[in-house]
Amino acid sequence: MEKVLTTHFANERYRRLDTYRQYGGYEALKKAFAMTPEAIIDEVKKANLRGRGGAGFPAGVKWGFLPKDLSRPRALVINADEGEPGTFKDRVIMTRGPHLLIEGIAISSFALRAHACWIYIRGEFVREAKILDEAVAEAYAAGFLGVNILGSGFDLDVTVHRGAGAYICGEETSLINSLEGKRGWPRLKPPFPASVGAFGMPTIVNNVETIADIPWIVTHGGDTFAALGVEKNGGTRLVGVSGPVNRPGVYELSAGANLKDVIYNVAGGMRDGKKLKAVIPGGSSTPVLRADEIDVTFDIESMAKIGTMSGTSGIIVIPEGTCMVRALSVLMNFYAHESCGQCTPCREGTGWLKKLVGRIEAGEGRQGDVELILDLCDNMMGRTICALADAAVMPAQSFIWKFREEFDRHIGEQKCPYGNRF
């Protein structure tokens, strides 16, 4: 299958500008400058490019939300705050092919008529930020960024901004607040970033992979890109597989790949003869699937049909022998730790979930705790400014719905049947 991003990722030198250019790098930018911004946006719309940050919003449609008038300067912000547990795909792009992102930024900014771009990179990504900084410096030196790029008259400044290590800053309005030097918590919407975003500018926030796809789309056309995927899900996706499989890692697959096939063929199947118990398909926030539910296409719509999400396509493989209560407890600790504390249901609810699941795992669960968790989930879901509460609720509900007997056994036996103790 044709690859959009990873063709040359095996080449260590591909992160350098000269090697990138040997393989045709920045030709798409030249082509883009010969097009009108509207034509580029049309190609992106035709490409059926869905946002790769988790929500899967159509990129072309998002771009269309910018106000029509050009009286205010616009900004493009790249969300490189890859913090969703189980997700490690953007990291690969930034370390293996940073110029794909930078070229994508240049083209996208031109299409959006934005002259300022920030790459907001996760604080923990120290090495990745360094590589990205070097790549940005190379691009400036070669005239692919800065003033009058390639004689086009188009100016663009790109700044790599490191976050301070908060999951919530992956939410676009928190990210913008953090970028502006404020406490990183979500903004009440409206106004949406497309009208009031970074530093008050109309702003488009896109995921790293989304923007890295843009040069290929410009080179080959939106229709060609769309054809690589399935209906409504154009192109390829970087899929991360973690857990006890033979070949964990990041793979570039069609947006219409089969989930079971990804685990058993692409990732080489279960390691050491382990049996598959469950799969978290798209990062830790997405509802868990039982082993018998995974023979499905991995695209956004197909996953939605079975009540889960392809999310960030970070597939977490859970083998038999794993205590699902403990697994959920780990996740609940994460969300309680990362809740920004702004909205009451999330601030108090995530902490309560952590304590409830934790005490069930510890053998101190009480009768009615499972019902209490489900009721609490009901009081949190959809009740907050951003989706962090939902992100905590979705695994909690799905773990209980699909593995209820394990929770009941913990409470009934007043211990963890797997012997896992914190």
Binding site: I168, L188, G341, T344, R347, W352, D378, R383, I385
Partner: protein, 525 residues
């Protein structure tokens, strides 16, 4: 105008109105904590969730603007469960120390628990997150982080109203708390408002702390006497003791705020009051009876004017007096005593601090009223003081507890030049320590009247409770003195005086207590 259908009722509201405000107009209370009409919308407490037709999720009423044809329900099971659910979450870490909490009785958590909660706690007591209680963060407030529901009103007040940003959020999740930055206590003159806007007992007033349960207090409308701004206040009292002042909303004057200085002015009405009339004979105070003292004072003033000439009688007015009192006093001086020696001063001891928000340099509530009623300030006052120093005055009637910025010694030295000094005042002070006759006056809480603010806004202050001790309403004192000087006044109370004042004084023409109303009325310029 957009039309909203709320629980089956329809209401037209101006464009841009939130569902929460629109609901108020039809008498539907949507519970909320973080929303405050004078602050930006935060939308983070999540109490005001409502069901809107065609919206899959519940929406916050505070942040959702009414669109034409919007159909909203607040009375569904879904909304009820959501509100109860949010309230439960607000309360899980709450210390429930209502018995020792000053907010009890006016607490948002108590009120909404009784209305929307009434649930049994499902949260394990040992799981409660404990935070620091009784934190002195500076200013007039004490912070109890455990009681805080993190609504962010205080943070927004300090960011948007004072611009000083001393408070912010620290930590995350259920360890989030409001605090000051290390070593940087509250540093502005409006900190008392934080206790007012805090919907729970997290920020309470240092001054009011543990002094009275709020349900024992009664309130009346008043005007702050701390400066010439004329901030509208609610005065809270029990018996004849004032316990606190809180800002009363008036968008034309103080919005919903008042300064820390003004907030403590009530103490003057409780402490060191003049309670009985007395005369000073050979340096010693001798209690007097109103029945004999009023005729005595009138006689001394009149006799001096008759014998030595009106030029040797003087009247010093006070910018702490009401328009009604100043009007009567001017007539008493000019018409009845026939003296031109009438003046007041707006000066007070201290630096006359002012800012560009509420605090005015003139620390009197009614200097403008005195000027409008024809009582001169400034040079005329200074000239009168010089005349007194030179021994040119034989009888003096003084209103007020102080003589401008003069110290106690200066006041005593000045008044020693006058054989007869009668004072009408509320508190012990430089004047009462030097006057020959002291006529104790009712405080602002104990009488009614109007003040004219620095911009010429005439505002009413109301009677709260009967005067302490034997103090009398100064209107009554003035009418009594006036009639003994031959005025033939039939005024009964300040309302009748104001009617006469409005008839004869051009700036106040056409005004009445009705037209002034609750929020005041600007004079014609």
């Amino acid at each position: 105008m957009p039309t909203l259908t709320l629980n089956g009722m329809t209401v037209d509201v101006p464009p841009g109105t939130s569902i929460l405000d629109a609901a108020k107009q039809v008498g539907v209370e949507i519970p909320h904590y973080c929303y405050h009409p004078k602050l930006s919308v935060a939308g983070n407490c999540r109490m005001c969730l409502v069901e809107i037709e065609k919206f899959p999720k519940l929406q916050t009423a505070c942040s959702t603007v009414v669109n034409d044809g919007m159909v909203v329900r607040t009375d569904t099971e879904k909304v009820r469960k959501a509100v109860t659910g949010v309230l439960e979450l607000m309360l899980i870490h709450h210390p429930i120390d209502c018995p020792i909490c000053d907010q009890a009785g006016e607490c948002g958590l108590q009120d909404y628990y009784m209305k929307f909660g009434l649930h049994k706690s499902r949260y394990a007591l040992e799981d409660k997150v404990h935070k620091k209680k009784v934190q002195d963060i500076g200013g007039q407030v004490v912070l109890d982080a455990e009681r805080c529901i993190l609504c962010s009103r205080c943070v927004r007040f300090l960011a948007e109203v004072t611009g000083t940003r001393e408070l912010d959020f620290f930590n995350r999740g259920d360890h989030s708390e409001i605090s000051i930055f290390p070593g940087k206590p509250l540093d502005n003159n409006y900190t008392g408002n934080l206790a007012d806007i805090c919907p729970v007992g997290a920020l309470t007033s240092k001054d009011f702390r543990f002094r009275c349960r709020v349900w024992l207090l009664k309130a009346f409308d008043s005007i702050c006497t701390g400066c010439s701004k004329g901030c509208n206040v609610d005065a809270h009292f029990k018996g004849d003791i004032l316990y606190r002042l809180k800002p009363r909303w008036n968008d034309a004057v103080n919005q919903a705020w008042m300064c820390d200085f003004g907030r403590l002015t009530y103490k003057e009405m409780n402490e060191a009051r003049l309670l009985t009339p007395f005369v000073r004979e050979e340096g010693a105070r001798k209690v007097a009876a109103w029945g004999s003292l009023l005729p005595d004072v009138a006689f001394r003033l009149k006799a001096t004017a008759d014998k030595s000439g009106a030029d040797r009688v003087a009247v010093i007015a006070s910018p702490q007096s009401s328009n009604e009192e100043l009007y009567l006093l001017r007539r008493l001086a000019t018409e009845l005593l026939g003296t031109k020696n009438l003046a007041f001063t707006h000066r007070v001891a201290g630096d006359g601090f002012a800012d560009d928000f509420l605090i005015q340099a003139d620390k009197n509530p009614n200097s403008r009223g005195a000027q409008l009623l024809g009582i001169p300030d400034g040079a005329v006052f200074d000239a009168l003081v010089s005349k007194i120093s030179a021994g040119g005055i034989d009888a003096l009637l003084v209103f007020g507890n102080v003589l401008g910025a003069l110290s106690e010694e200066e006041t005593a030295a000045l008044l020693a030049n006058v054989p007869f000094v009668a004072q009408v005042g509320t508190n012990e002070g430089p004047v009462s320590k030097a006057a020959t006759a002291v006529l104790p006056s009712a405080s602002v809480a104990e009488r009614g009247g109007t003040f004219t603010s620095h911009v010429g806004r005439v505002q009413r202050f109301r009677f709260g409770f009967p005067a302490r001790g034997k103090a009398k309403n100064p209107v009554e004192i003035l009418v009594s003195l006036g009639n003994r000087l031959g005025a033939g006044w039939s005024f009964a109370g300040e309302a009748s005086v104001f009617r006469a004042l409005a008839e004869s004084e051009a700036p106040f023409a056409g005004m009445s207590y009705d037209s002034i109303g609750m929020l005041g009325q600007e004079i014609k310029t």
